[in-house]
Symmetry: D2
Subunit: 340 residues, 4 copies
């Protein structure tokens, strides 16, 4: 069976494995205070062109979202996200567990519309009963989104401007940051992204690491005692070196971006093949997640050799997801294309 099920079904990149082996007998202080973490942070600051950035390594995505959002919101505030945002759907209520409401806007193929954001904020502050409501305290977007789409630089700039106007921090969930930045047609650099938001993270779990998300506060603007908040949320890894070593490796010589680009290239080959053979794409995704409408017969046929997710029915068809990753062999894509 060849799997396109997810981008977190492989181990880690071989360079990471080597580093883990090389360093295994060394001793290192715990909780992210080791030399590997320090080195990785420096490389991230350099890559983002943010010399004063605060960088923290957490273990997973839901954990990172919950910790960052809770740390940055006041108790009376909620977080604005689109309905399909990961925090609103697939995090088992982790944000609400921290006491905060997810305030939702419509999703446009996974993206937030800046105009709708502005309108929502205008309407909120015009509402005479606003003191009885949950105040917006942050804007959350994903890059790339859960639907494989990305924001253009102009779109990000517009959202960022609205956030600044309303003094709302902008948080970019980068669980798939690499695949977004390396997407076909992406006109956003990581430096620009860092400059436009108040906090984001570089997702390791889905792009080369065994686990780990690198949270970046670009202008040294981490909330006071964020370390303690991370600990309180159960998100502080005792052997922080495991994260430091992984990110140090990924951020060396642009490895993170190279392997992300590979995944996107494979996905584009797949997408082109789908289109060439007359399949209808559900969304126009330039990233490693491809959504295509398949009929029952095709699904049954492909399932004999390939693993992929069936998301939900669209009319008589099924919206199916095929995911490539940093670890997808070209041969796997060739095989799938041959089978189409």
């Amino acid at each position: 069976m060849i799997s396109f099920e997810s981008d977190y079904d492989n181990g880690c990149h071989e360079a990471i494995l080597s580093r883990l082996a090389q360093t295994n007998d060394e001793k290192a202080t715990g909780y992210g205070l080791d030399d590997y973490c320090t080195a990785a942070k420096e490389k991230i600051r350099a890559a983002c062109d943010c010399p004063n950035a605060d960088v923290f390594f957490l273990v997973g995505g839901t954990q990172t979202n919950a910790t960052v959002i809770d740390a940055m919101l006041h108790g009376y505030q909620g977080v604005l996200a689109v309905e399909t945002g990961h925090i609103n759907v697939h995090e088992s209520g982790a944000i609400e567990f921290g006491g905060h409401k997810v305030l939702t806007l419509h999703s446009h193929d996974g993206k937030m519309d800046a105009g709708e954001l502005g309108q929502w904020l205008h309407d909120f502050y015009a509402d005479p009963t606003l003191d009885h409501m949950v105040f917006p305290g942050m804007v959350y977007i994903t890059f790339s989104t859960e639907r494989g789409t990305i924001y253009s630089l102009e779109e990000l700039q517009t959202i960022s401007t609205i956030c600044k106007q309303y003094e709302l921090p902008l948080f970019i969930d980068g669980a798939r940051l690499g695949y977004g930045l390396m997407a076909e047609g992406c006109d956003v650099t990581i430096q620009q992204l860092a400059a436009l938001c108040d906090v984001f993270y570089i997702g390791g779990t889905k792009c080369g690491a065994y686990c780990g998300e690198a949270v970046v506060f670009p202008r040294g603007n981490a909330p006071a005692h964020f370390f303690t908040t991370v600990k309180q949320h159960g998100a502080l890894l005792a052997k922080g070196r495991l994260l430091g070593i992984q990110f140090d490796t990924l951020m060396t010589d642009g490895l993170y971006f190279k392997i992300a680009r590979h995944a996107v290239e494979q996905a584009m080959l797949l997408r082109d093949a789908f289109i060439a053979r007359g399949y209808q794409m559900y969304s126009d995704s330039p990233t490693n997640q491809q959504f295509v409408l398949l009929d029952k017969n095709t699904i049954e046929r492909l399932e004999k050799d390939f693993v992929f997710e069936q998301w939900y029915p669209v009319g008589d068809m099924m919206n199916c997801r095929f995911v490539t990753s940093w670890a997808t062999p070209a041969a796997d894509v060739d095989a799938l294309i041959a089978a189409l």
Copy 2:
């Protein structure tokens, strides 16, 4: 420098490293549903003689404590622990973040006294104002404790009996379970421990793994939808295989216990040398953590070659902690003994 600073400053056991390397190119379903997790769970059930146990793999100790306690308590309940219990001191309020009070008893070298527990519960239920107070909903103890001590089988049985009498689940924090069970003079087996409590965990982080704690509900008594609660607490690892592979390795051929015994043996050599040379031990620890009173000159002298923690002053002396681990070379202990 030779370090006795902690038992989580090394990488992982070489057998784990090998398994990670061997399996790295395989694909595996996420979230702990992979074959390695399944195999590890079976081995844990066998080791504990609990064929119906529910087993879950979480990443770290604070996270595990917070998730288990929150899952098992009602909103109006708190957890009983000794003052020095990890949840009461060094978890940054993770239990309270989940909405629960830590109700404290006196600590006796890190241990809870069964008699005091019984008295506390008697007094609570005799208090006419109890409906205005936090109800006890669970008893939390550590094995081995934060002070290196362990409970005897009889002590565990007495605590367990009181818990049953008051219908309180007993939770054993096993962050250092291996070092406790392999302690000098320990008369408790893992099967007995499993039979006497309602939930415990086998700590991997401090005993051979890079990360990971295996939570065991011995009689299949996990709270409903515990998987979702784990996710909500940010404690569900996407690449669950990382935990499955580690525990499968540790639970094969008793590796976990063998390497724990090594640490204890080294600690006993150290303890005996301290005593033989006239140093005063702060507590009588049969496990891998040794606490000894040192004067300023001795500390300064030893610090030139050795790393260890100074906990707190006791009169003119300092209570210092020396920790061995599964990875401590015999040569390190020899060197320290020579330097005493």
Copy 3:
């Protein structure tokens, strides 16, 4: 100025005032354990035909919703409500403060559609990723709704049946229960309502009392230690007699229902007058809240003598709310009708 602004802008019913004066010098035990509370509970059990009901008196609506919902949900569960439900809009995130997500369905003039509820639940349990989502743990509806509408008996029965099918408790927010049960055309009795749900409350604040909501668990099915949960939520009134006296008075000789009917009768006069004069009603409300579309000139003219709320624009018109209450003099309604 004559006010139709809200149904909580008067003091309390004169019969309550008299009872407060008569009993003022008596001493009474605190926290709802006094004789007035006991008597009021008995009258509520009788009125609801629920001899085993557990009854608790809380102070206000948001507090009651937050306490009841938190007490009845497990940590991994959320509450299903329509988008316009009070808990989703005007409670400043009190439900999320307790750690629970409000899962939303479309609002139909304030009401939940049983078919949509059934579909939502079907889809949820058919979703292969459900373990990563917030589980539904309760259904919340309001009677009468925030838009003045009510459920028919058949509608309530259908919702209740679906709840039973999925083992979800049904919670009816009765902040305006009196106005709902006394509504024009209402075919639901309080006994039927009690039999169809798992918990509801009789709203005092908006119907004759100075404050107070009587929470009823019809079959003695209050969660364990609900008293303590009420205290924990800051919802336990020290001088509980203040609530006991009020509800004892309201539940004597059907006073609560009589005064609610008065408000509805006044509202119906108002509604008929609006319609007779050609105004367009925004919704078809048989209760004490009337929503009508007014143009700018009419608003300006009426505002000289009358107070009412402008909710939101509908095209060129404004959706305006006129509220009658138990205390609305017939003369006030006459004056408004004359001014139309």
Copy 4:
């Protein structure tokens, strides 16, 4: 039976009852925005000599403590209190429900020792593991305390100085503020108290009102959007006038202080009688709560005619509490004295 059971077992002061009757037919805006609340706030500002104070009216003590503490703490912070502090014992975990730990110091007859506070803070900031602990974010004391004691001006000043040194807000729980300020030998004025702390409240429930606590941020230093936080905590009374009218009455012509002084005077008569007859006082209380050690026979004898609480055994004796209030008739005290 004559009751000395508590100071919240009467109705309200007759002047309040009159005002409620006089104003009952008036209409008033909800949520504390009415004229009575406005007037009451002005009188409180004048009484406290704090022209810029922010004043809010909440309903009860536990609610007020939980709301104020949660509003002023960051998520990673706890509140320092003595072990016997109301928030640590008799609030059913309301503080922890909001996510915060109560950090405890020893109680000295209900009081915090400034020296111990300073030492605790010194030790905390000297602890190398402090980042893994709950940070202190506020100091909470009660005035008068749960044991009837009060702080001298010098004691308050010392505590206040330490709080300023560590940038910790000082919160004074004034559930029994009147009885404290009017205590025998009290050398603190309400103006001095307001100047020395960052937030306090004037307890109405136990001193003349039916319900209500007036929270004062003396220098206009209420947390942003505190109104919304109050609502979120279920502590916003819809008919806020009920609180406004009560406090407006209590703060007119010093009524609050006069009736508090009456209670203290009665308590002093009682105390002197106890002492004159050779009873041993458990604590030296200059306020309305008197604690005395009684033997079994005396308790049985007195219980025939009097109601009082038995707190806990002290040796062979029982520590019994006798409480006077604003409403205690002199005849009741005479009767008890005669019975001694």
